[in-house]
């Protein structure tokens, strides 16, 4: 299926063409925007992959999107642009809500002019969210990063997570104090972390929290880093430190006890993390993704205690849903870096 990025326009004529687009649209449409969402990708199918995704997001979160597909290796320097709008009727009888998308193809040396392209086409006063797809470039350009309000990455797509996290730290040090970081891989874990936390609201589970001795996480192929971040969250919240026991990595609890862990791949897993089982001596806590997909089932069993179960919402697997969840968030992720630090030595292991 071909996905059109819209009407081809001259780069210097984008504002005028956008104005014409709205003048010619019918009265039943209204332009809206809450954020400037810039997507940068060097994937050859970036336009085709991201245009439908932006259309889905526009149904829930109005934006001005700047989709930049770059080919830095191209020999000829070239800049091309297209404009389009994604309109959705949210309520019968109301106007359609439209979000603008400006698409750029940057080839060769022109790919290095990203800040110039971005800053010329932002919606004034609205925050700038930059979703950098794929590997980050070393030696980040302060001219760009200083103005980004929220940098969005997906660590699951990185070729070398250890090196990429180092670049990410460097970028963060360039940002203004208001800039925030969002790793979609961390966002993916929100509902799962919530479900795990909910189990430990039970007094019988909470009193055993400092006695965790085993963690087993089952994840889908290609989601080891997601599982590691979940493990890192537990470790950082509970004060565990990484150690080795008989040459195998383990965590040490603050009381000196040992927490063993296993990350297992399930080829058939429908979700990035299918389950987590937590051993607490004589008790077990677990969260499993229901086969129906929309919910987790949290469980807790302990001696002399009726088994506890509770269904809790699960994140959807679609990238648009994960991104929407991040776009609706205004807060930062203060637990992200502590979680990464807790599992950093494990990043480079296969």
């Amino acid at each position: 299926m071909t996905v059109s990025p819209g009407l081809a326009v001259e780069v210097g004529d984008i504002d005028r063409q956008l104005g014409l687009l709205w003048e010619q649209s019918d009265a039943g449409k209204v332009r809206a925007s809450l954020v400037n969402l810039v997507i940068y990708s060097e994937a050859p199918d970036a336009m085709a992959a991201n245009t439908p995704l932006l259309s889905e997001i526009a149904a829930d979160h109005a934006f001005r999107a700047l989709l930049v597909q770059a080919q830095p290796e191209a020999k000829k320097s070239d800049v091309r642009a297209w404009i389009t709008a994604h309109c959705h009727l949210r309520e019968t009888g109301k106007k359609e809500i439209c979000s603008e998308q400006i698409t750029f193809q940057l080839d060769g040396p022109a790919a290095g002019r990203l800040p110039s392209i971005v800053f010329s086409h932002l919606d004034t006063d609205l925050p700038l969210y930059l979703w950098w797809q794929g590997d980050l470039h070393p030696d980040p350009d302060p001219q760009l990063w200083r103005w980004v309000d929220r940098l969005i990455v997906d660590s699951n797509s990185w070729s070398d997570p250890a090196a990429q996290f180092r670049i990410l730290r460097e970028i963060q040090s360039l940002g203004r104090t208001r800039s925030a970081l969002a790793d979609l891989n961390w966002t993916r874990l929100f509902h799962l972390r919530y479900a795990v936390a909910q189990i430990f609201d039970l007094p019988a589970a909470l009193e055993r929290l400092d006695r965790i001795d085993r963690v087993e996480i089952v994840h889908a192929p290609g989601h080891r880093l997601t599982a590691l971040q979940l493990l890192g969250w537990l470790a950082s919240r509970l004060g565990w430190s990484l150690d080795r026991d008989d040459h195998a990595p383990v965590f040490r609890r603050p009381d000196g006890g040992t927490v063993t862990f296993q990350l297992n791949v399930n080829q058939d897993a429908k979700a990035c993390v299918a389950s987590i089982d937590i051993g607490l001596g004589d008790a077990t806590a677990s969260v499993r993704r229901k086969t129906s997909g929309e919910y987790y089932l949290g469980m807790f069993t302990a001696p002399h205690q009726a088994p506890f179960t509770q269904m809790l919402p699960a994140e959807r697997n679609k990238t648009s849903d994960i991104l929407l969840s991040e776009l609706s968030r205004i807060s930062r992720h203060p637990l992200f870096w502590p979680a990464i630090r807790a599992i950093e030595p494990l990043l480079s292991q296969p």
Binding site: E91, F190, L202, E207, S328
Partner: protein, 511 residues
């Protein structure tokens, strides 16, 4: 050793609100419409969003002969119909498994003793930790006996380390003496800090947004006073007639049904000073100060400042509708008001001299609740030299439907002529935030479970409101009181309501 959800280190930074404790909700009068249409769908949606505590049970206390199984089925059908999100069968089954029907008459002490035993057994089985949230959803005439029996049976007493709270549905009395009696009955059973009086208007997102608009934005609060505001108009209009509520409405009327609670609450949020923090008492203290500064309307002042009217036959959306006196269940000579318009004054430093106009009515052309802040006009110089017809700036907060905020200002029409036209900057919740707005009851139930009373009315707020309303009602009973006016269904109310604004050179907004 940690014992409560707030001690759970895994909870940190997951949600930006207090986590509700495990508890049992006991609904008195559970076979009524409120449970079916609002409470159970709200609780189900909280479950679907993962916002319920780890353990929650609902005990439905009512007189009719039913079993837990049959009642769950009834509630399932209702939830399927009224829930804002589609029902997930498995989630519903798990949620409904913890709904229990307790059959008893409200006046039988044995029923409360048995209830206590049942609640203790549920605590043991589900880990609800002795926390109780009693919800009075019955007819107000039953409140006294329920409260008396809750107290006599010891159920209103919190167990050690647990809490016991009460939610009261409006109306909180029918006048000041009855409100006093009800509040005394409540106070005999529950301390004020554990009493949650629901006014669902306060659970609406836009009502909550009034404080955000005022106190999280520099620009508005600077203008929010007598120097810049000409008048404030609060409107609640609906095209519906009395529908099936004639029995209630004949004893209530628009003044007691809407003004005493919803509209005075909106007035307080609009006029209050900034609270010292966002805690329940700080916010409610400021609202009470507005009520204290509200100039009482007594005797002749009522005739000058209040218009009451009743709808006659007319047309709504092109359909002929009967007059109020021809509605089923309404007395043919009924003198009950279906429309009230008031001119109010708040005698404090901020608002002295600024009229607050309020109107509420049934069978008006359009449904809408809004607060309009009308600013003073510009001086008669420059663009305003020749004509004073230029529309003043108006900031409108739309509470429902189409929740949002708009601001009207003047702009030059393009062209060689100097002609000014009003233009509107408009913010729609639905346009900017695509995600579905939770129902007011979801927020309010969650707050009550978490012990946050900010969005609930306090005893003194309710009693101040009744004092104000009672003065008007007393004046209406006087022989010299102005007669009841009439307006055709589908109009914007009686002519007398327009005249009410004339001395202030103001006109009602057309919604």
């Amino acid at each position: 050793m940690p014992e409560t959800a707030s001690d759970n280190p895994l909870r940190y930074n997951l949600v930006n609100r207090p986590v509700p404790d495990p508890c049992i909700i006991v609904i008195f009068g559970a076979t009524g419409d409120l449970t079916r249409r609002k409470l159970i769908p709200a609780l189900y949606n909280l479950a679907a969003d993962g916002n319920l505590p780890s353990s929650l049970a609902v005990v439905c206390f009512a007189r009719r002969e039913k079993t837990s199984e049959s009642f769950r089925e009834e509630l399932g059908e209702a939830a399927r119909k009224y829930s804002r999100r589609p029902l997930n069968d498995e989630l519903w089954t798990r949620f409904a498994a913890n709904i229990f029907y307790h059959r008893s008459s409200f006046d039988q002490m044995e029923g409360y003793t048995a209830l206590g035993n049942e609640l203790n057994a549920i605590d043991q089985r589900l880990g609800t930790r002795g926390n109780r949230l009693y919800y009075l959803a019955s007819s107000p005439t039953e409140f006294d006996i329920i409260l008396e029996n809750l107290s006599a049976s010891g159920l209103s007493q919190a167990k050690p380390g647990a809490w016991s709270r009460l939610i009261v549905e409006k109306p909180f009395g029918t006048d000041l003496p009855s409100a006093h009696r009800l509040n005394d009955a409540v106070a005999a059973a529950f301390p004020e800090r554990d009493t949650f009086r629901i006014d669902h208007y306060l659970g609406k997102e836009t009502a909550q947004n009034i404080m955000v608009l005022r106190f999280a934005n520099t620009v508005f609060e600077a203008l929010w006073n007598r120097r810049y505001v000409d008048n404030v108009q609060i409107t609640a209009s609906e095209p519906l007639g009395v529908e099936s509520r004639a029995g209630y409405y004949e004893n209530s009327g628009a003044l007691r049904d809407m003004v005493q609670n919803h509209l005075l609450q909106l007035l307080c949020l609009t006029a209050m000073e900034p609270p010292i923090d966002l805690g329940a008492d700080a916010v409610r203290n400021e609202k009470v100060k507005v009520m204290q500064a509200l100039r009482p309307l007594t005797g002749a002042a009522v005739a000058e400042n209040v218009v009451r009217a009743q709808y006659t036959e007319g047309f709504i959306n092109g359909h002929e509708v009967p007059g109020y006196r021809h509605e089923p269940g309404v007395a043919p000579e009924s003198m009950v008001e279906t429309y009230v318009a008031l001119r109010l004054h708040i005698d404090n430093w901020r608002w002295a001299g600024v009229p607050f106009f309020m109107r509420v009515g049934k069978r008006l052309p359009k449904s809408g609740t809004e607060i309009a802040i009308q600013f003073r006009g510009t001086p008669p110089v420059l663009f305003n030299r020749e004509s004073k017809l230029q529309d003043p700036n108006v900031l409108v907060i739309r509470i429902q439907p189409d929740e949002g905020i708009s601001f009207r200002m003047a702009a030059k029409m393009p062209g060689a002529m100097l002609q000014l036209e009003p233009v509107k900057m408009d913010f729609h919740y639905g346009t900017s935030f695509g995600k579905a707005t939770p129902e007011a009851y979801e927020r309010l139930l969650l707050d009550a479970m978490s012990g946050d009373a900010t969005l609930f009315a306090r005893r003194d707020e309710v009693e101040h409101a009744w004092t104000f309303i009672d003065h008007i009602r007393q004046a209406w009973q006087d022989d010299s009181a102005p007669r009841l006016d009439f307006y055709p269904a589908g109009s914007w109310g009686p002519r007398q309501a327009d005249e009410l604004l004339a001395p202030d050179h103001a006109v009602w907004r057309r919604l």
